[in-house]
Amino acid sequence: MTRRPPSRGTPSPSTRPSTEGIAVSSHTPARNDEGATSRVRLAAVLVWGTLVTAVLAVVPLALRDRLPDPLAAHWSGGSTPDGHLSLTGDLLAGLLLWGVVWAALIGFALHRTVLSTRLGRAYWWGFFAGWPVFVLGVQGLTLFANLGVADWRRAVLPGWTVVVVIGSAGVAGVLAGLLGRGAPDKPREHPRPPSLRLRPGRRAVWVGRTVNPWLVGLSTVSLLGALVVGALGALGTLNAEALGIGLLVLVPVTLLGLGTASVGVRVDQEGLRVGFGPFGRPSRHTPIDQIESAWAERRTPAQVGGWGLRALPGTRGVTLMLRGGDCLVVRRVTGGEFAVSVDDAERGAALLNAYRAEAVS
């Protein structure tokens, strides 16, 4: 009788019969040949951004002698101004308007994960080209209108010039986005769908839950607001109109926030059920015979187009994204895909595949 030392400190109970055979999916690592491209991108945004910043700072200062003080800085509707700023204020406003976006562009260029998707690259290049056109255009128009005018009230700005600036910024952005977005995303390699062994006489279910803490926070704050408004209304401190408006805004925000802050995902013999909110209602059910296969995958909001229920054109896929990370993906027999962000998705997918195999045979 020989005694072998245990190979691991903590024995993994997942090797027990009931859950054995869960294939671990491998996530493809980021490709390395993107390094050179990303350095070019970083250099481009640094040089281009410095140039834009310099123009935004130098041109107004150079024209200082021919501008009124304060400057006309705001026009609403008509061509006569209704707001003014000092030259310094206008200068800072322009720099801030550009600087925030520039910093974000640099950040994304350094961080790279956003730029690993085609959509991310399209947005990045769009803002890279379009935003400077917008900021320079707005500042240029302000200077142009004020140039040679003695008093800011006389600075005239025809409305169509604003339309031209916004339009050309949009065109520049879209063009740059189309040119810079690069190759379509490689179709994700689907690992062998995980599965597990079902044993007769056993009922197996998988339950997962995702909560978006931001939405929980938002609805909590909104709920408190509604309570405060309600209490003030009850005390008679608030007039009826303010009370009505307050509740009209806060109550729907609270309900919507709570209803969408969490999803519950359930896999059982019947298929996949995704329920919203604390009561799991409304819910969406995909019958087991409608499911072709299931797997787990890492997805980020940048990949799927944002948070919430997201569908990207040309993919036939819908993602319910509450947070980046582990997602349970289901392909329907009709060809569509549905994904929901949820922890421990691997086991859920494995159970779905097992029930699927059972339903087929």
Binding site: P13, S14, A204, G264, G280
Partner: protein
């Protein structure tokens, strides 16, 4: 978390539920600090009464695996100790053996042969 119930198991249902949740915590399906799905949801998924699930959750709390927090639901406090996990696995092994007509003595014999 993956939960399984043995329909032929003669143990009380709440014990089985506690067992399967203990196993889910042990295999890392639910890590310490994470919140469990609401008892109502677990009960609906398993097709049993919510009170049965609550009883199981209370048992696990008394074992020190779970923590009940008012307004924040039930969260995992710590992993079960090795003995509890092994006992659960052994119970399953015995059930499986029983299906093939093997008694505990024969299972012990097989284990002896292996070690």
């Amino acid at each position: 978390m993956l939960l399984t119930l043995d329909l032929n198991d003669s143990r009380p249902l709440h014990e089985q539920v506690a067992g399967t949740i203990r196993r889910a915590i042990a295999d890392g399906s639910c890590r310490p600090g994470e919140r469990l799905p609401p008892a109502r949801e677990l009960a609906a998924a398993l097709g049993i009464n919510a009170n049965t699930v609550l009883r199981a959750l209370r048992e696990l709390r008394d074992e020190g695996l779970l923590e009940f927090r008012r307004g924040r639901g039930v969260s995992v406090l710590s992993r079960p100790d090795a003995r509890a996990v092994l006992a659960e696995a052994a119970r399953e092994l015995l059930a499986e053996a029983d299906r093939y007509g093997y008694g505990p003595e024969e299972v012990i014999h097989i284990i002896r042969e292996l070690s």
